[in-house]
């Protein structure tokens, strides 16, 4: 979409006004500074997804809409998790992080902050695998997506 002030609020407003569900939304400028690219994760029947696609296209600031889930695509989300890492559990945490290919990016004597990237379900699985009480804080970016192979969203 056009990299204009207010473009984001038009999209967010559309979803709330029409009662569409919005699971996550990420947005940032692209290599062409006049454009920004947004990835929205939403759920709905085929009819609802069709309406959402049309309604997004109708927004004047939106240049192009692609439903990535229609074909092969890659989806990545970044999560930072601060966990309790004391005594016996300290080593255990390190191992869990390794298994999920996480990186420990900040350390104190009581905590680790782990960075994890992957599809949303992988991040969910990591959180599932941890002891609930060990999780002190999480922050997730929401998914960004891109088509596989030659599939390109380009203006």
């Amino acid at each position: 979409m056009e990299n204009e002030a207010g473009a984001l609020s038009r999209v967010a407003g559309l979803f709330s006004a029409r009662g569409y569900n919005i699971e996550s939304l990420t947005v940032a400028p692209t290599e062409d500074a006049t454009l920004s690219r947004m990835t929205i994760v939403t759920r709905g029947s085929d009819d609802v997804i069709e309406q959402i696609t049309k309604q997004l296209n109708k927004l004047i600031d939106v240049v192009k809409v692609v439903d990535l889930s229609e074909a092969g695509h890659i989806e990545r989300e970044l999560m930072l998790v601060k966990v309790r890492a004391e005594g016996d559990s300290r080593e255990e945490m390190k191992r869990m992080s390794d298994i999920f290919r996480g990186r420990i990016v900040d350390v104190t004597d009581k905590t680790y902050t782990i960075e994890l990237t992957g599809a949303g379900y992988k991040l969910d699985a990591f959180l599932e695998a941890l002891d609930k009480d060990a999780i002190l804080e999480t922050v997730r970016t929401g998914a960004s997506g891109i088509g596989r192979g030659d599939r390109m969203l380009k203006i």
């Binding site: 979409m1 009819d47 069709e50 309406q51 004047i60 600031d61």
Partner: protein, 565 residues
């Protein structure tokens, strides 16, 4: 030469061929008003409330097809305009609304008369702009007019901070704009049009269902040609009335909640439904599940893809401008050698005539009380069907739609989508400015007219000879009707008490007032009023208080579940 932002606004409006600006001044737009004062390219109409400014611009747009323009100040001026903007949005009316804003440096400071106009209007505009740099001003106004009037039309707001109206820049008005993110489709897909024509030629029980899109795209001629060459039955939504002549026998009347028995039954039982610039509104098809009919195929022509397959599934979607698509269809049908099933069409018409013989629009013509339907029939007769008729919202609106047989497009002007009480009189002002010589009648209720009654003053100032047809039932009649049918006759807050003496009220504004209490006086009074060509006449018809609008489909029910008289 460098011009100030305010000078640029006025120059841009002139470049767009603006004839009238409906507005109301205030602090944030004083610079603009100063330039309005100095120019003579367009006329500024001072209304008495900003809502009326937008409705008047809207009435002008509906009557002419051109873009209406309103100008309001920041804060309360802007919020007063919102109802008018939402009204235009719901009915797809092209407007450019210019609002003043506090100076850029004061934005976000809770400054005096600051509201986030772009935020407030976002859900009810086609698009909106906040202009922060005077160098963007001319191009933004060009874009606003372009967006408002092309594709599916709609209102566009341009919010201009006061300092931007003072800053100077070189002025050039772009001849043309293109926007990579906005490319409305005009011509329909040829393959889809062919498929549709094939389906039309094979139909046994066809039905045309037409709407506001026919009027908006000025396609009455193409539609009339198409319908007549096929001899198909046709119905219209409230918004499409006049798109096909109502006095023609192929026309089955309006459909929907208060539509005719024959139109609704034919809509339900046809085998090929051709929807043209109509959006399957809930007031039209009722419950979509009930509306679904096994074996019926639907062709849907609309310029806005979101209107298609929104409430009902369709078999042949055609995205495009009604006028272009119908012209193409007419060509294909004329050239086609295909033999149509005339016998089936004849049987279908026999069925429709049977439904028609129910005479669902009958009413008591012998009553000693004035029947509202009778007033509208007489209005039609006295004006020879040649008036522009605006309306407010309620029972009177439905009677006007049902009994004034509109034979031409852009003659019937009402708020359908938002249903805004208070729309009628200001809209009529806009119409009268557009057509100074025409007969303009505003059909209203005693509830609705009081929502913008102050505009009688504007009418006086500009000598607008409107004819106000007040169907005074002393009730918020449409509300009372629902209470009678669905709430056990408990008329909660729907009685209109303490009404003014409307004749005196009109007279005090310098107009002519009339009170009509007997059926035998109706016709004479109307003639007298329309003979006063240069005066506004406020006609207070004391009508039967308990009259109801029939037929009626209760909310949530299906098209064939009508309540008849």
């Amino acid at each position: 030469m460098e011009l100030t932002g305010a000078e640029i606004v006025v120059r841009c409006l002139a470049e767009e061929g603006t004839e009238f600006v409906f507005g109301y001044p205030g602090g944030a737009v004083l610079n603009i008003y100063d330039e309005v004062f100095k120019q003579n390219k367009f006329k500024h109409v001072l209304v008495r409330h900003e809502q009326a400014a937008v409705h008047a611009a809207d009435g002008y747009a509906r009557a002419t097809g051109r873009t209406g323009v309103a100008l309001v100040t920041s804060g309360p001026g802007a919020t007063n305009a919102v109802t008018g903007i939402a009204t235009a949005y719901m009915d797809s009316i092209p407007l450019v609304v210019i609002s003043g804003q506090v100076p850029t440096a004061a934005i976000g400071m809770d400054a005096f008369q600051e509201v986030d106009m772009v935020g407030i209007t976002r859900p009810c505009v086609k698009h909106n702009f906040l202009v922060k740099d005077v160098r963007d001003l001319a191009e933004t106004i060009k874009k606003a007019f372009y967006l408002a009037s092309t594709g599916r039309p709609g209102p566009v707001v341009v919010d201009i901070p006061k300092d931007v109206t003072q800053h100077k820049t070189e002025f050039t008005y772009p001849k043309k704009v293109t926007m990579r993110s906005y490319n409305p489709v005009i011509k329909g897909h040829p393959g889809q049009i062919k498929r549709a024509v094939q389906m039309i030629l094979e139909a046994k029980r066809p039905m045309f269902y037409t709407g506001g899109g026919v009027v908006l795209s000025n396609a009455a001629e193409e539609l009339t040609q198409l319908t007549r060459q096929l001899g198909f039955p046709i119905t219209s939504t409230l918004m499409g009335l006049g798109g096909y002549p109502a006095s023609d026998p192929l026309f089955t009347g309006m459909l929907g909640m208060h539509g005719t028995y024959e139109a609704n039954m034919a809509m339900q039982h046809c085998d090929v439904l051709i929807a043209i610039g109509a959006r399957f509104d809930d007031r039209v098809i009722g419950n979509p599940e009930h509306f679904f009919q096994e074996g019926r195929r639907i062709i849907h022509i609309d310029i806005d893809p979101t209107s298609i397959a929104k409430r009902v599934k369709v078999d042949v979607p055609i995205v495009g401008n009604v006028k272009d698509v119908l012209a193409e269809m007419n060509k294909l049908i004329q050239a086609s050698k295909e033999k149509r099933d005339q016998a089936a069409l004849k049987t279908w018409w026999t069925q429709i005539e049977l439904w028609r013989s129910q005479d669902c629009m009958k009413y008591d013509r012998d009553s000693s009380l004035i029947k509202p339907q009778y007033v509208i029939e007489k209005l039609h007769q006295v004006t020879r069907g040649d008036a522009y008729v605006t309306s407010d919202v309620g029972q009177h609106q439905m009677w006007a739609a049902q009994y004034y047989k509109f034979d031409q497009p852009r003659r019937w002007i009402n708020s359908g989508g938002l249903g805004t009480m208070g729309f009628g009189m200001p809209a009529a002002m806009g119409v009268q400015f557009a057509h100074p010589e025409a007969m303009v009648a505003c059909v209203t209720g005693e509830g609705s007219i009081q929502m913008n009654i102050q505009e009688l003053s504007t009418c006086k100032q500009f000598n607008l000879p409107l004819k106000i047809i007040l169907l005074n039932n002393r009730y918020l009649g449409m509300v009372r009707q629902w209470q009678e049918f669905f709430y056990g006759n408990r008329y909660a807050e729907s009685y209109m008490d303490a009404l003014p003496d409307f004749s005196k009220l009109a007279e005090s504004y310098g107009h002519v007032g009339m009170k009509i209490e007997k059926p035998e006086d109706v016709e004479g009074a109307l003639k007298e009023a329309f003979d006063m060509k240069d005066r506004l006449v406020f006609m207070n018809f004391i009508t039967d208080q308990k009259e109801n609008v029939f037929p009626m489909i209760p909310a949530g029910k299906g098209l064939s579940e009508m309540i008849l008289v």
